[in-house]
Amino acid sequence: MDDLLAGFGAWQMWLLLGLNDIRQRYKRSRFGQFWITLSTGIFVAGIGIVYAYLFNHPVDEYIPYLSVNIVFWTLVAGILTDSTTVFTQAGHYLGQQALPKTAFVMRVLVRQLLVLAHNVVIIVLVYLAFGVALPATAAFVLPALVVLLLAAFLAAITIGLLCTRFRDLPQIIQSLLQVAFFLTPIMWRVEQLGDKAHYIVGYNPFAIFLMLVVEPLHGKWPSWDLYGRAFVIIAIMALVAAPLFARFRARIVYWL
């Protein structure tokens, strides 16, 4: 708990670290950090055109749908991928100085939110290109994003801790994320699944948190059912993360 408060207290540290991560990665390239936007854009365009024909969807309806999903999936997958190395990457700092561990979790969130900020450009461009108006429900993205980040914070602590101790886990999580990408309504619509949708979407945490954020952008009002499920998952994650972190926080340095 102290670590948590100290972690938030060191906000200037994680803000700066997260910012520098992005700055440093693209420092010497011509397009700089807009490679983030560009590579996601290419992905959306490629998948969008192929699947629009495959599913027999009109392109001008499918691509806006897909772009929103992909952009927010990139956030979810990015946070989870980065959290596998959150402490190992910070090993150099943690071995030298007493620093709050949660500050490095916040750094990952800042880094991925900056990536999101670059990717939002794509949604704007796609909406403009296809003449899609922003639905009235769009403002509900913001509370959903807060809920998502809360879950992401808890997940990142747990994953980061376990991945520092068990070095095979990052690879396992990578593969699981790939499977999750196909089991989550990103490229397809829930309605396409028919009756069985409930089993794949209703209990899939990836689907629940993704739908929470993207549905307002697809013009749907937020549903209590979805928020309820999200908070149940958050409660479970908190029950796992809190004792785990309290017990093993000090051991992280020894595992590095």
Binding site: Q12, L16, L17, N20, Q24, Q96, Q97, A98, L99, W255
Partner: protein, 249 residues
């Protein structure tokens, strides 16, 4: 009031990827802490064992011992980076360790950016760290290089910059692994003056060193570490004599 209290503190590293297979060879090693195998065959390195120690303002402690005796590990316990695996460590006061001055610096960022980054790790706010840039620029004599990426610096220039920012503020507790010397003759003199000012003003100072001369000059207490244990504790001259005796069997 700054203080350091260790009660029966031990530090043991579990080594998960080396099974007891390699135990025999590590037991033959003459340096390093004690290597032990658990019941399940996992290897642990006991870097420090049952250290009890009190440091109060005014203490200038020297850590003496051969390579692998636990000096650096003990410094890291003092810095708060390692919480003891058993026992307790209570550290009060703002610690500044000159163990790795370039920690947190980024080769792609400019010197000025790195001053801010390093400053924030030293506990400054971004605004405060930024306000230190001109002072650091002047002390390190880097001039126009301040606004070039750090990878264009020579290793001497990197150290100058790291030294200038690391010593910008006097901490309550100062930790040093060997006395630092940076740069060419004129700069080394300047750096030494600044470091001595820091040593004089820090409430507690701990220096791990092999140099008897440095220890005599700056310390008023000493402990001799052997295989992760405190072998002897006392006045500087007494400990240095014991250490030198151990060196020549």
């Amino acid at each position: 009031m700054p203080s350091i209290k260790l009660r029966d503190a031990s530090v043991a590293f579990p080594i998960y990827n080396s099974r007891s297979r390699s135990l025999r060879s590590s037991l033959l090693a003459r340096v390093g802490g004690t290597v032990q195998a658990d019941d399940d065959g996992a290897v642990t390195v006991r870097a420090l064992q049952n250290i009890t120690l009190d440091l109060a303002p005014g203490d200038r402690l020297a850590l003496v011992g051969h390579n692998g005796a636990g000096k650096s590990t003990l410094l890291r316990v003092f810095s708060g980076a390692y919480e003891p695996s058993t026992g307790a460590a209570e550290i009060k006061g703002r610690v500044s360790s000159l163990l790795d001055m370039t920690m947190g610096m980024d080769m792609e960022l400019t010197g000025a950016d790195n001053v801010v980054l390093r400053g924030v790790f030293l506990g400054m706010s971004i605004a405060e760290a930024r306000s230190r840039i001109p002072e650091v620029e002047e002390f390190s004599e880097l001039g126009g290089f301040m606004h070039l990426p750090m990878r264009t610096y020579s290793s001497g220039m990197r150290l100058r910059l790291a030294f200038a920012i690391s010593t910008a503020r006097v901490p309550d507790i100062l930790l040093m692994d060997e006395f630092i010397s940076v740069g060419d003759q004129t700069f080394a003199r300047k750096a030494r003056e600044r470091l001595e000012h820091m040593i004089d003003n820090a409430r507690i100072m701990v220096l791990a060193s092999h140099s008897a001369q440095m220890i005599r000059q700056y310390c008023n207490r000493a402990i001799l570490l052997q295989g992760g244990c405190v072998a002897r504790e006392g006045a500087v001259d007494e400990i240095l004599a014991a250490y030198q005796q151990g060196q020549q069997p």
